[in-house]
């Protein structure tokens, strides 16, 4: 019997955020040094230089309120951070500046992260959770004009997570709700296309692969569920996998569509094959809940790292299945 290889250790660990790490975002695509942004519970955004593995800058714009989402905007080179102070800050980080140009009020008291869609060149859409706990607001980022407001008809409870993506017919959005259902929204017409009861417990996170028209959602129970959008734009359950311990904070599909990573409440990052959800690895490193996983968008496949941010205040950086 051939023994399986032992799971890899992290390449390195980033310490120094001095607070639980809520969210991560790589920025390696353009020339220049590879960066990793992390948002912490104490309201700071750390900008990590992956070459020297140190924090280059610390951005504080949320008055100490927990930062739950960060994102770079490629088209305008801006940077967004969402805090629990009910604001999304738009940053200008050019030439060493670190200034908040303006901020958008969400009014949301929940934990739902925003979702950014940069499909068309001069039209960048941002979906935000709104004051009303079920509502999603979609606005044009540049002009800050609201495009749509998406409110489900039936009682689906609080909005938990969402992901906006471009389809042939226009922008679509998958949203996960408190009652465990996933709803597919047509953003341009502001109407729901399909609803799938994916979990018995609230949907904690989801991610969507536009190439395969297939998404995955995690919950506070032990299952991960993958689903597809069929040709009639209906959501259909496809596959599910059982975890050893319940609770997933975030799911992330790697851009090449080979693997998907799940940030577990048990402190483990689990890696699955994206095709069939075949369990591939359980990465044990963190001492506490893992809040976030992210894959690097580095142009060179072998440099595409994976990062996991945890409540134990560490960020572990891994190189997994990046050989070929």
């Amino acid at each position: 019997m051939v023994m399986a290889r032992p799971p890899p250790d992290p390449l390195f660990t980033l310490r120094g955020s001095a607070a639980p790490v809520n969210t991560l975002q790589f920025h390696c695509s353009t020339a220049g040094r590879p960066l990793l942004y992390s948002g912490s519970e104490k309201g700071c955004v750390h900008v990590w230089n992956l070459n020297n593995r140190r924090a280059e800058r610390v951005l504080e714009g949320h008055d100490g309120a927990s930062v739950i989402w960060v994102s770079t905007v490629d088209s305008t080179d801006a940077f967004l951070s969402q805090g629990r102070d009910m604001r999304v800050c738009v940053w200008d980080l050019h030439e060493g500046r670190s200034a908040v140009t303006h901020s958008l009020r969400t009014g949301s008291v929940g934990f739902c992260q925003c979702s950014l869609l940069e499909a068309e060149t001069n039209k960048t859409l941002l979906a935000l959770p709104a004051e009303h706990t079920e509502e999603i607001k979609v606005m044009e980022l540049a002009s800050q004009t609201p495009v749509r407001s998406l409110i489900p008809d039936s009682k689906q409870g609080m909005l938990m997570c969402m992901k906006m993506f471009q389809a042939e017919s226009g922008p679509l959005l998958c949203a996960g709700y408190e009652d465990g259902s996933v709803v597919l929204w047509d953003v341009s017409h502001g109407r729901p296309l399909s609803c799938l009861k994916a979990h018995p417990e609230p949907v904690m996170c989801l991610d969507f692969d536009t190439d395969r028209q297939k998404g995955i959602s995690g919950s506070s129970d032990k299952t991960l569920t993958s689903w597809i959008i069929d040709s009639q734009q209906n959501l259909q359950m496809q596959n599910s996998v059982l975890l050893t311990n319940p609770g997933v904070s975030q799911l992330c599909i790697r851009a090449d569509g080979k693997i998907v990573a799940a940030a577990g409440w048990d402190g483990n990052v689990r890696v699955f094959g994206w095709k069939r959800l075949k369990p591939l690895a359980v990465l044990q490193h963190h001492k506490d809940l893992v809040h976030s996983v992210a894959f690097s968008n580095h142009p060179e496949a072998s440099q595409r790292l994976m990062a996991a941010g945890s409540k134990d205040q560490r960020i572990s950086v891994w190189s997994i299945y990046s050989e070929s």
């Binding site: 023994m3 399986a4 032992p6 050893t244 075949k278 591939l280 690895a281």
Partner: protein, 782 residues
């Protein structure tokens, strides 16, 4: 033949004087002139067709022979290269290829080294590269009715063509050009055959008759000579050509039908290896299997039941071929019946190798998968009989692998045969090993290989016990699954950390562990329990081992418990015999990855022994390694406590335990364990006594019917030969030496179990080595 036409006469009359000139004249110009006259009769010359035919029939070979004899003449040497190519080579390349080939090959085999030989070889090469062999084959195809070739000539050409590389290599040895080497030659030949078939198709379309007899014979003969691999490079091409063209299918079937019976087996064998997929085989072979008894035997019997070295793909191709056509399906049923018979035959289970059993199992499952529902209903009774018989005799086996195979195949068959509610179900957790059995058609591509995920466990809420006595208490009386589980998980670590407390309760703890049952189906229960017991035996060796060895022969234990005792003793002895490493890592994850059945354990020991044998072999190339620090062997002084009590009561059957009777599973394990204990006692003073006692014991059971026991016996013998000091060993064996050798040699040759055979060989080698050192050392002669 009576009819004299004017052309014939003129050709013969014209050629005869020219030939005389070529063979006898010393005048170069005259010779050249004469040859230019003859050239008219060759292909492309301006003589009439009937003249050419007559020339080819009556003069061609003669002309070539004369040319060959002129190889050493002044005329030949004075020819410029250009003219030489025209006047000499041209004759070989522009006449009937069969005659030219015969002359060339005769020349090569009869000429001695020199420029003449080189030239002839180069002409043969141009003969091959000019596609003359293709011409030859084609000319034979066209002889449907005419020219009654003598059988002898036909045979000769066949032989020469099929063994040309051998003929040339015999003469040229290492100077053989690449084109004449088998690899290249037969690949070219395959291309020529394919071209000939293409011509045949074209001719048939034009309404002309062709005969494939010669090509078929050639194919057969080449395959028979073992060049099937090269010649069937035409198989993939044939497969694609037959896909769209019915005529090609007919031609290809006709070709195979024409292969003589004595060669057809090698052709078919080579073909099924090189055609991928049942439909390809079906297109190329048609219903040959129904027409030819020999092919039928090969495909429905020989490949499936007599041979077992073929890849699964081949099985799939052959069985799929039988299933594809309505007329052939009865054969599939017949195959299923015979495979069933073999699979459920208990004697076959005992006396054939594991590989073969696995092969037959695959064939059985593939066959069943190909049946449709009505056929299954029709064969249901037979399949059921096969399943029950086969599963039963496999479950009786003492080899883990065979038992598993029985269960997996049984489950798969049951899935096909029974209603979903009444299916046979073993909780076979190790299906992974047999996935290839279960997986029928799908191919798993580009899968990423998973990492070890054994460390992924449910997070515990309760805290593990911190004291040895708490741990013991929990294991003894707690009903809380989580507590028991945690206690079991920490037991080994606790015991090893608190040696003095562990000593106080060692026997009691061992007793509790020995009687512990897996009430809560704890993950890795056996390994955890085992490692804790091993820890106890290591920490407080004498009392714990005394307790365990006594319990081994006492009443009211299950076989599993007795096996556990043996495993614990073996592992403890092994640990004791190893030097103490600085920090003994708690090797839980690794231990857990090893399967818990004793089969895996045996492998593990064997690996250890193998490693030791390796380490004892001196290798010159290796640099000197850092010598390990010397430490006293902890096992040597206590080896006797482990060993002798186990030999005490084996022949005393009890109500619940009959070691020499039905409980041969334990016997096999016991002998293995004793062998290991013996092996670990190398260099211990007590080794001689142990060896004597062990040899006495195993001598009585060396012909046991169970292969596990025999394997154990041979393992023990190996261990004795390795560990007992040489002089004592020979003293001990002295009377039985000859008999021992005969026995080992017999086992090495004829035991059905591969492990037994290799162990016997190993023992023999060790014995010979011992004997040699003994005979060489003069001090021993007194």
């Amino acid at each position: 033949r009576g009819s004299f036409c004017s052309g014939c006469v003129s050709a013969r009359q014209a050629v005869a004087p020219c030939l005389r000139i070529v063979s006898s004249s010393r005048d170069s110009a005259e010779v050249t002139e004469a040859l230019r006259t003859i050239i008219h009769y060759l292909e492309g010359g301006n003589a009439s067709a009937s003249e050419k035919a007559e020339f080819n029939r009556a003069n061609y070979t003669r002309v070539l022979q004369v040319l060959v004899s002129s190889l050493s003449s002044d005329w030949f040497h004075s020819l410029p290269a250009q003219e030489r190519r025209e006047l000499w080579d041209g004759f070989f390349l522009r006449g009937p290829p069969d005659q030219a080939l015969l002359v060339l090959l005769d020349t090569i085999s009869s000429t001695s080294d020199g420029s003449g030989l080189d030239w002839t070889v180069s002409v043969l090469e141009s003969f091959l590269s000019a596609g003359r062999v293709g011409m030859l084959l084609w000319s034979r195809c066209l002889e449907t009715n005419g020219r009654p070739d003598s059988v002898q000539l036909r045979e000769t050409i066949l032989t020469r063509l099929s063994s040309l590389p051998d003929l040339t290599a015999n003469r040229l040895r290492t100077n053989t050009p690449a084109r004449l080497l088998p690899q290249q030659y037969y690949t070219d030949l395959a291309r020529d055959v394919l071209n000939t078939l293409e011509n045949t198709c074209r001719a048939l379309r034009a309404g002309q008759d062709c005969s494939l007899g010669f090509v078929a014979q050639l194919l057969g003969k080449v395959c028979m000579q073992g060049h099937g691999g090269e010649i069937t490079t035409l198989a993939p091409r044939l497969s694609s050509l037959t896909r769209s063209d019915a005529l090609w299918r007919r031609v290809s079937c006709k070709l195979l039908e024409n292969v003589p019976d004595r060669w057809v087996e090698s052709v078919i064998t080579a073909l099924i290896h090189h055609l991928h997929g049942a439909s390809a085989l079906s297109r190329v072979m048609g219903n040959l299997v129904l027409k030819n008894k020999k092919v039928q035997f090969v495909l429905t019997h020989k490949v499936l039941l007599l041979q077992y070295q073929h890849p699964t793909q081949l099985l799939r191709t052959v069985l799929g071929y039988l299933a594809l056509d309505h007329d052939r399906r009865p054969l599939l049923k017949q195959v299923l019946r015979s495979v069933c018979q073999v699979w459920s035959n208990s004697s076959a289970v005992r006396h054939t190798s594991l590989d073969q059993q696995l092969y037959v199992s695959k064939a059985l499952l593939l066959c069943v998968n190909l049946l449709n529902q009505t056929e299954i209903q029709e064969l249901r009774e037979e399949l059921l009989q096969c399943m029950l018989g086969g599963v039963q005799c496999r479950l009786d086996s003492s080899t883990e692998h065979v038992r598993r195979m029985g269960m997996v195949v049984g489950e798969c068959l049951s899935q096909k045969l029974d209603t979903p509610t009444s299916q046979l179900q073993f909780q076979v957790i190790f299906r992974k090993d047999f996935v290839f059995l279960i997986r029928s058609a799908e191919d798993f591509d580009d899968e990423l290989t998973p990492y070890d995920m054994s460390a992924d466990q449910v997070k515990q809420k309760a805290t593990p016990p911190r004291y040895v006595r708490d741990c013991l208490e929990a294991l003894m009386s707690s009903d809380d699954p989580e507590r028991v589980e945690l206690s079991l998980q920490t037991a080994e670590e606790l015991l090893r950390k608190n040696v003095s407390t562990a000593r106080e309760v060692s026997v009691q703890f061992s007793k509790v562990l020995l009687h512990l049952e897996d009430r809560y189906s704890t993950a890795g229960f056996h390994t955890l329990r085992q490692s804790a017991m091993v820890a106890l035996a290591v920490i407080h060796t004498q009392p714990v081992v005394e307790y365990l060895t006594t319990e081994f022969y006492s009443l009211n234990y299950s076989l599993r418990q007795r096996l556990d005792i043996l495993e614990v003793l073996a592992l403890a002895a092994q640990e004791l015999s190893e030097p103490i490493t600085e920090k003994k890592a708690v090797s839980q994850p690794v231990a857990r990855a090893v399967t818990l059945e004793q089969c895996g354990e045996v492998e593990h020991w064997r690996q250890v022994v193998e490693k030791r044998i390796q380490s004892k072999t001196r290798r010159i190339s290796k640099g000197a390694s850092q010598p390990p620090k010397a430490a006293p062997n902890r096992y040597a002084p206590v080896a006797a406590y482990f060993f002798f009590p186990l030999l005490r009561n084996y022949d005393r059957p009890q109500v619940t335990f009959d070691l020499l009777g039905s409980d041969h599973l334990v016997l096999g394990q016991l002998v293995h364990t004793l062998g290991l204990l013996m092996h670990l006692a190398v260099n211990a003073p007590v080794a001689t006594q142990m060896g004597k006692a062990l040899l006495d014991f195993v001598w009585a059971i060396r012909f046991h019917a169970d292969q596990m026991v025999r394997r154990g016996v041979l393992f023990a013998v190996c261990a004795v030969f390795l560990s007992m000091p040489g002089e004592n060993l020979l003293l001990e064996l002295s009377d039985d030496l000859v008999e021992t050798r005969a026995w080992l040699a017999d086992v090495a040759e004829s035991d059905p179990d591969a492990d037994c055979r290799s162990l016997a060989v190993q023992s023999l080698v060790l014995l010979e080595k011992n004997l040699k050192t003994h005979l060489q050392s003069p001090s021993m002669e007194t």
